[in-house]
Structure formats: structure tokens, C-alpha cells
């Protein structure tokens, strides 16, 4: 933007700093009024924080559904020029006539040619990790646990994709996945903690909370559902004074719900540890708990 001589003549070009949802909307509104827009963001792409949200307050709308059309429109609009990986270094001039100095960092990729296929990420020899900030100082693991983890990790040294089996073993060993152990595992495997946590929270097997001595898994599969598994569950909840997913204060029982344990012929079914109890009814619950309390 070369500065114009006549100070009072306003020129029809704007710069929007920040390409989040607000910036994009501003850019679109301006462009719709016929003004040329430069949209600048310091990240490698526009979109901002909203892309990381699932829902927005207060309407509970899907964030991506709100954003995606605007992203596309910004990308396509002939009057919007997107400048990414860039920071504003200085601004001079007055309204209608600014001069800016922009520092654009290199992308090391030819933007014209890249189709965003992602192959380079998968093939990067440096662990496929884009942004990692090691948080070594936060790993607060006891020596004993570290020893256990070392031996588990060693066991799966040669396995490709070892994380799931390692976490399975860890979950079995500790009855849940303690936070320090997760941080330690992430560090040992040279993975971002987020990857470990994603696996740990995606699969049903894993628990991030300590669990009781007896884990009661009530089946809420279809066969059990139509045969009144719901009532058995509420009887358990009533008897133990906890909700599903919780553990009693004395750390004796945890109630979990599962979808089918493959004994549908005996619906409704529940498992205490590995023991299957079929054809359950509300009235059988107190006695069942009693036998395990003593055990």
C-alpha cells in the first residue's frame, strides 16, 4: 500500500488483524461493501480458537458448522487476501491512510503447490509431531511406578503401535490410569500427552479415575435393555448410593455400564470383575452385593 500524497483522500483498503471467527466475519462484511481486505493471522492458517470448540454458548450450535461456510467464503472471495504466519511490526499514518510493516515468517512449503494432503506429516522422521512442548517438570511419578511402567513399556518395545496394549496393561495393573503414569508414558514414548490422552479417553476400557475393588459392569446392550437392565442399574445405584461411573467411598464397588458382554441369552446380565451373573432382577441385587462385600 504505497502512501498517497493527499492526506484527506481515503482509500478503499483495510487490514483485519486476526483471522478468528470475528476477523473472518469482519473481513467478509467489509468485502461485501466493496472494500479490499487483507486478513492477517500469526498462525499458519486462519480459523482461530473456534475450530477447537465443539459447541458454542448459549445456543449449543456446532462450532464447525458456523465456521466452515465462512472459511470457505473467505478463501474464495476475490477481494480478500489472506496473509498467514505473519505479524504486524509497525503501523504509521492516520485513518484512511496507514502504512504497515508486516513480518511474514517462512512456511518452507510452496503454497501454490501444496494440496494439504498431509502425507508429509505421516512420513516425517521426527515422530510426526507438529507442535510439542515437553512438560518434563510436570511428571511427578514415584520410583516404584516408574519401574512398573518401564517394564511394561519394555515388553512392547518391538510392537508397532504399542500405545493401546501398553495402556491396557497399565489399566489392568493400576485398575485405572493415574495422571503421572500417563505423563511418564507420553514422555517415554516420545509422544505428545494429548495423543496419549486421546487414546485413554476414546476407548471404554480405560478409566482416568481410581476404581473400586469390585467393578460391577452392568450390561445395557439391547437384549438387556428390553429385559429391564435399567431397573437393575437403578437398584444397584440405590443400594450403593452412587451413580453409574462412580465408586463407593470405601473403594469396594464401582458401577460401570457396558454395551453387551455377549451373554445376551441370560439378559439382563451383569459382571462383577470377571464373574458373569445372568437373569438378574432388582430383588437379587442386595444379596449379590452382600456376597462380594464379604469376599
Amino acid at each position: 500500500m504505497p502512501p498517497k500524497k493527499t492526506e484527506d483522500k481515503k482509500i478503499g483498503a483495510t487490514l483485519v488483524v486476526g483471522g478468528g471467527i470475528g476477523g473472518m466475519q469482519a473481513a467478509l462484511d467489509l468485502a461485501a461493501s466493496g472494500i479490499k481486505v487483507y486478513l492477517l493471522d500469526s498462525k499458519p492458517s486462519i480459523g482461530g480458537v473456534m475450530a477447537q470448540l465443539d459447541k458454542t454458548f448459549p445456543t449449543n450450535d456446532c462450532a464447525m458448522c458456523t465456521m466452515a461456510p465462512r472459511l470457505v467464503e473467505v478463501g474464495r472471495h476475490k477481494d480478500i487476501e489472506v496473509i498467514t504466519l505473519a505479524d504486524v511490526e509497525s503501523i504509521k499514518g492516520t485513518a484512511g491512510n496507514f502504512t504497515l510493516k508486516i513480518h511474514k515468517r517462512p512456511r518452507f512449503v510452496d503454497e501454490e503447490k501444496c494440496t494439504g494432503c498431509g502425507l508429509c506429516v505421516a512420513n516425517c522422521p521426527v515422530h510426526n509431531i507438529i507442535y510439542v512442548t515437553p512438560e518434563k517438570d510436570k511428571i511427578d511419578i514415584s520410583d516404584e511406578h516408574a519401574k512398573i511402567m518401564n517394564s511394561i513399556i519394555k515388553e512392547y518395545e518391538d510392537v508397532e503401535g504399542p500405545l493401546v496394549p501398553i495402556l491396557q496393561r497399565t489399566n489392568e495393573t493400576f485398575n485405572y490410569l493415574p495422571e503421572p503414569v500417563l505423563r511418564y508414558t507420553a514422555d517415554k514414548l516420545n509422544m505428545p500427552l494429548s495423543v496419549v490422552c486421546r487414546i485413554a479417553t476414546f476407548y471404554k476400557t480405560f478409566s482416568l479415575e481410581p476404581r473400586g475393588k469390585h467393578i460391577i459392569s452392568v450390561c445395557l446392550g439391547t437384549a438387556c435393555h428390553v429385559k429391564g437392565a435399567g431397573r437393575v442399574t437403578s437398584a444397584l445405584e440405590g443400594e450403593l448410593g452412587i451413580k453409574r461411573g462412580e465408586t463407593t467411598k470405601d473403594m469396594l464397588f464401582t458401577i460401570e455400564t457396558v454395551r453387551c458382554i455377549g451373554c445376551c441369552g441370560l439378559a439382563p446380565v451383569l459382571k462383577v470383575g470377571e464373574n458373569v451373573h445372568g437373569l438378574m432382577s432388582k430383588t437379587m441385587v442386595p444379596e449379590l452385593l452382600h456376597t462380594y462385600e464379604k469376599a
Binding site: 500405545l163 487414546i199 471404554k204 439391547t222 438387556c224 445376551c264 430383588t283
Partner: protein, 616 residues
């Protein structure tokens, strides 16, 4: 001890048979997970002790088998060679069984199964109505062999098909034979198995993989579990033949962590097969190498989907991805990969051994062979049933299943799990095969068949499935993630009595969009439960929305419990179970129920023997 070649296997079989006297009584006890639910391990121990005590070790043998299918009646004991069928056997019955039935050939009347409809008490397993209408070509051997003993399997011609395939057929001939049999995948979609094999075979040379899908996420179905637990060698044999046909040298079995017994048994089976040279390097000295690794899944329904399964084995969590490229072209670690369901693979040895002509005589025009269904829910005989394709629902539910308990009316049957739909009474004469089920808006899925009676609310069922799918959707694509949640919300409102006019139409619109625009099979079929229940039970939806009533008496917010003044005789049985003391009354006088206190838990309804609690 390795088996050297084909004749070596025959010799082994003969020596096993020779050691065994086919006339010697053999007590088989079901050790499947279902029977463990009835503490069959105690019965097993009791039989062992009793044989020891009476010093019958040389006269009687004993076998702990896999699931017989009739899980509801467990623990099941069958005595060979006559196949005397005892059910609900308790520890105390064991001495009598041995001294009466085994030694004196006397039948113990009270342990026999009684047909609830006719009162007949069949003695032999084959005469039990639950079994005699089935065609148990795959599942039948489950009751005859001990899954942890490879000799049992070999004695029944096990691994014979593998020999035939390795020494008398080329891979192309195998694929052609499977093609002629018209075997279709039992994992859900019913894709032609031979086509899949041919594509994988044709993919460029180099590493290839075969994966056996035993994730069985479909709630209400457990045939894969029972096969893996009860007859793991059958699946292994099918898998080795498949691997040979497509040219794979490494295989994976992806198995649910919730199935510990299956994991154990298949592990033992692999070890035994390796020791005999039926698996591993240079199988039967044919030059063919094949190894199998067991991968324990960690519990996510969507990981049953093939592309998600592959990424899960790779240790990633990428979820489903768009196809093509199909796994047959680019699968595990980027190599051509063939994925088959457990039951599909269990069909293979049969086709090879008996020939495609024999196999394709069973079933309908386009769906060949048999299918194992898990017949569960509100039906008298629950369990696993194997029937030829094309049998009508009526035969399955009423003849094999023995109808609906307590004389209630049949309402619908749900097939295909969360991807399937509800089939109403008007379609009860529908022959069951891949095409017909799809025509009526449901699908075969993995073979769950959940029977529902008049006390099942169809709106609640639809809500239940969407709840399941909402939890299990991986969230990768918007239509599935958002659409299912919205539908669930609407259905929850309807069940709470907050439904509005126009909800049904809105549901239909969302359902169709989700169906057409989702990325993987989970989303694409997620609408089936909603669409079929609306299609066949629209009046029930309308009743919920317009009159705020739940005709089946299930939706808690729309019902109330009360006491029938005519029927109540004041026995007082319901007073104690009520957790909120809502029921009061003097003995032998009419009781009353305080609506303010009632939390609608249904305890009184379950207790009352005189049907005097009414749900409105």
C-alpha cells in the same frame, strides 16, 4: 510334534479316533460364557470329583465344550453317544446323573427340557424343538469338541479342508470355489467374499495381510464370541485358507477385550496349531508361511468398521476414512489387506471340504448358506440359532424360539443391531436374507435378533439405539455427530411428553440427511432404527406426542402406577420392596399407592403375583 504332510494329518486323526471308544459314555458340559453365568465351573468340578470318587475314569470321559447355543437353559449337559440332553443342571444333580444315566442308562425326568407350548419332554438333543429346526453346519461342532484340545477338532476332520486347499488346489481355484458358493460377508454389509479376496490377490505383490474381525460391537449379538470360544480352530483354518488364497503371510485377529475367554481359547488354539505345524513357517511342509497375531481391542464400536479397525491396529486413532482406496488395495501399514468377519471365515473350510455345489444348495437365490442369529429379548428360548437363509421370521421366533413368554403378544423383531431396524408383526412371514431385510428398511448386520413384545415401547427403542450411537460416533464427520445428537434430543423430548407436532417430520428429514451424508457405515445406517420405527409404528409416536401417553407403559414420565381395587387381595407383598414407602394398607385389605411418593421404579409391579398393579 509337527505333522509332516497330508497323510500325517490322516494318521493323527485315525490314532485319535482309535484311542477313543465311540460307544463309551462321554459327559459334555457347556463351558461357554453363558453357562459360566450359571456357575457351570462348579458343575464341571463336581463331575470331575464324582468320576474320581466312583472310580469311573476308564469307563466315562468328560469334555468341557463351547457354547451349545441354548444359553437360557444353562448349565447344559449332553451325554454321548445317545445325546441325552439335560438342562439347568445343578451341582447336586451330578451324582445322580452319573449313577443313574451313565451307569444304569436311566433318564432323569426333571432335568429334561419341557416344551412350554406342548408340555412334551424330549430326551435327546436332536429332538428338542429349539435344535431340530436349525441347520447347524457351522455351529454344530461347538458342542462336540473341547476348544482347548486340537485333537477333538482333528478327530472331526479338522484341518482337512486346509490340506485340500494347500495340496490339491491353486489359490485361484480356491477363490473360484468360494465364488461359486456365493459366500457373502457375515460382518454386516454382505459383500461377496470371493470378490474381496480376488481384489486383494490381484493387488501388487509384496506384503499383504488378512484380518479376522471379532470386534462384535453390535449389542445383542454374540455368535462371533461363541465361535471363537467354542471352535477357534474352525476360524483359524478358514483364515489360513483365506491367507493362502490371497497370498498373505501375516494375519491379525482383532478381538474384543470384553471377551476374555475367547482371547484365551484362541491363544491356546494358535499355540497348538503352531506346535503341529498347521500354522507358522512352512505349513505341513507345503512351503507356505503364515503367522497370526491376536490384537486385543479396547472397546469402541466404531473400531469394528474396517478402516477404523486398521488404524486402531496401527496404534492410531484416525477413525474411519473415506473409501476408496479400499483396504483390499491399501490397508494395514498401507499394504493390501483383507478383512473378514469370524463367521465368514468359519464358512470357508466347509465350502472347501464339501464343495461349492453342496453349499450353494442351502439358502436363497442371492444369499447362500446359513446364518447364526442371536435370538434374544422377549422370547421363550433365547440363545444362538443357526438357520438356512430364507427361513421366515415366524419360524425363527415361534418354532425355534417357542414364542413370547407369559402369553404376551408379539410386537416386533429388531435385526441388525444399531444399524438395523424394527420389523413389525405384519411382516412376520418375511424370509430372512440379505435382500429382504434391506428391502424392509432393516439389515442383516451381524445377526442380532431382538424380539419385542407388547410391553416394549418403540419410541424408547429408537431412543435407546440413538443413545448408543451418540456415545459411539467418533465425531469425525458433522452429519453423524450432530445429526444423531439432535435426533436423540427430539426423541428424548417425545418420551418425556414434550413432543410437538412436526417432530416426526423433522426426525425423518434429519434421518435422511444423516443417512446420505455420513462418512462411514455407522452414520449411514444410524437412521434405520428411527426410520423403521416411524414407518411401522407411527401411531405410537403420535400417541406420545398428541395424547402424552406411552401405550406400552415404558416411558416413565408418561405413565403412572396404581392398584387395581378388584384384584388386590391385600397380601402386602408389594409394601416392602417399595423404596419410598408409597404403598400402605392393612393386611388382607385393599392397599393404596401414594402418587406423590411413587418414583415409578416398578418394584411393586415385579412383585405382585395377582397382576393388581396397573401401569397407565
Amino acid at each position: 510334534m509337527r505333522i509332516a504332510d497330508e497323510s500325517g494329518l490322516k494318521e493323527l486323526k485315525n490314532s485319535v479316533l482309535q484311542e477313543r471308544d465311540s460307544l463309551r459314555p462321554c459327559i459334555t458340559i457347556c463351558g461357554g460364557t453363558g453357562c459360566h453365568g450359571y456357575a457351570c465351573e462348579k458343575v464341571i468340578a463336581a463331575v470331575e470329583n464324582e468320576i474320581e470318587r466312583q472310580n469311573l475314569k476308564d469307563k466315562v470321559s468328560m469334555r468341557v465344550t463351547g457354547c451349545h447355543g441354548f444359553c437360557e437353559r444353562g448349565p447344559i449337559v449332553v451325554i454321548y453317544p445317545e445325546k441325552v440332553f439335560y438342562q439347568r443342571v445343578a451341582v447336586d444333580d451330578v451324582p445322580e446323573i452319573i449313577s443313574q444315566t451313565i451307569i444304569n442308562s436311566k433318564i432323569i425326568e426333571r432335568l429334561l427340557y419341557t416344551d412350554p407350548n406342548t408340555g412334551v419332554k424330549p430326551v435327546h438333543e436332536d429332538d428338542v424343538p429349539f435344535y431340530n429346526r436349525q441347520k447347524r453346519i457351522i455351529f454344530g461342532n461347538n458342542g462336540k469338541i473341547e476348544p482347548t484340545n486340537i485333537s477333538d477338532y482333528i478327530a472331526l476332520d479338522g484341518y482337512g479342508a486346509l490340506c485340500k486347499a494347500l495340496f490339491h488346489m491353486t489359490p485361484d481355484q480356491i477363490i473360484e470355489e468360494v465364488n461359486k458358493s456365493k459366500l457373502r460377508g457375515r460382518g454386516g454389509a454382505g459383500f461377496s467374499t470371493s470378490k474381496k479376496w480376488a481384489i486383494t490377490r490381484a493387488s501388487k505383490k509384496g506384503m499383504k495381510f488378512i484380518i479376522c474381525n471379532c470386534d462384535e460391537g453390535d449389542p445383542g449379538a454374540y455368535m462371533d464370541r461363541s465361535l471363537m470360544e467354542g471352535n477357534p480352530h474352525l476360524v483359524l483354518e478358514g483364515m489360513i485358507i483365506g491367507a493362502y488364497a490371497i497370498g498373505a503371510h501375516e494375519g491379525y485377529i482383532y478381538i474384543r477385550n470384553e471377551y476374555p475367554l475367547a482371547v484365551r481359547n484362541v491363544g491356546i488354539a494358535i499355540k497348538q496349531a503352531e506346535e503341529l505345524g498347521l500354522l507358522g513357517k512352512n505349513i505341513l511342509n507345503s512351503g507356505f508361511n503364515f503367522t497370526i497375531t491376536v490384537h486385543k481391542a479396547a472397546g469402541a464400536f466404531v473400531c469394528g468398521e474396517e478402516t477404523a479397525l486398521i488404524s486402531s491396529i496401527e496404534g492410531k486413532l484416525d477413525g474411519p476414512r473415506p473409501r476408496p482406496p479400499f483396504p483390499a488395495q491399501k490397508g494395514l501399514w498401507g499394504k493390501p489387506t483383507n478383512i473378514n468377519n469370524v463367521e465368514t471365515l468359519a464358512n470357508v473350510p466347509l465350502i472347501i471340504e464339501r464343495g461349492a455345489d453342496w453349499y450353494s444348495k442351502i439358502g436363497t437365490e442371492k444369499s447362500k448358506g446359513t446364518k447364526i442369529f442371536s435370538l434374544v429379548g422377549k422370547v421363550n428360548n433365547t440363545g444362538l440359532v443357526e438357520v438356512p437363509m430364507g427361513m421366515t421370521l415366524r419360524e425363527v421366533v415361534f418354532d425355534i424360539g417357542g414364542g413370547i413368554p407369559k402369553g404376551k403378544n408379539f410386537k416386533a423383531v429388531q435385526t441388525g443391531g444399531p444399524s438395523g431396524g424394527c420389523i413389525p408383526e405384519s411382516l412376520i412371514d418375511l424370509p430372512v436374507d440379505f435382500e429382504r431385510l434391506t428391502e424392509v428398511g432393516s439389515m442383516m448386520g451381524s445377526g442380532g435378533m431382538i424380539v419385542m413384545d407388547e410391553n416394549t415401547c418403540m419410541v424408547d427403542v429408537a431412543k435407546y439405539f440413538l443413545g448408543f450411537l451418540d456415545d459411539e460416533s467418533c465425531g469425525k464427520c458433522v452429519p453423524c455427530r450432530e445429526g444423531i445428537e439432535k435426533m436423540r434430543e427430539i426423541l428424548t423430548n417425545i418420551c418425556k411428553g414434550e413432543g410437538e407436532e412436526g417432530d416426526i417430520e423433522l426426525l425423518e428429514e434429519i434421518a435422511l440427511t444423516v443417512k446420505e451424508t455420513s462418512l462411514c457405515g455407522l452414520g449411514q445406517t444410524a437412521s434405520n432404527p428411527v426410520l423403521t420405527t416411524i414407518k411401522y409404528f407411527r401411531d405410537e409416536y403420535e400417541e406420545h406426542i398428541r395424547n402424552k401417553r406411552c401405550p406400552a407403559g415404558v416411558c416413565l414420565d408418561l405413565i403412572s402406577y396404581s392398584i387395581d381395587a378388584e384384584k388386590c387381595n391385600g397380601c402386602g407383598a408389594c409394601v416392602r420392596p417399595c423404596p419410598t414407602q408409597a404403598i400402605t394398607g392393612e393386611k388382607k385389605k385393599l392397599h393404596s399407592l401414594d402418587q406423590e411418593k411413587c418414583i415409578k421404579c416398578g418394584a411393586c409391579f415385579e412383585t405382585c403375583k395377582f397382576d393388581s398393579i396397573i401401569i397407565k
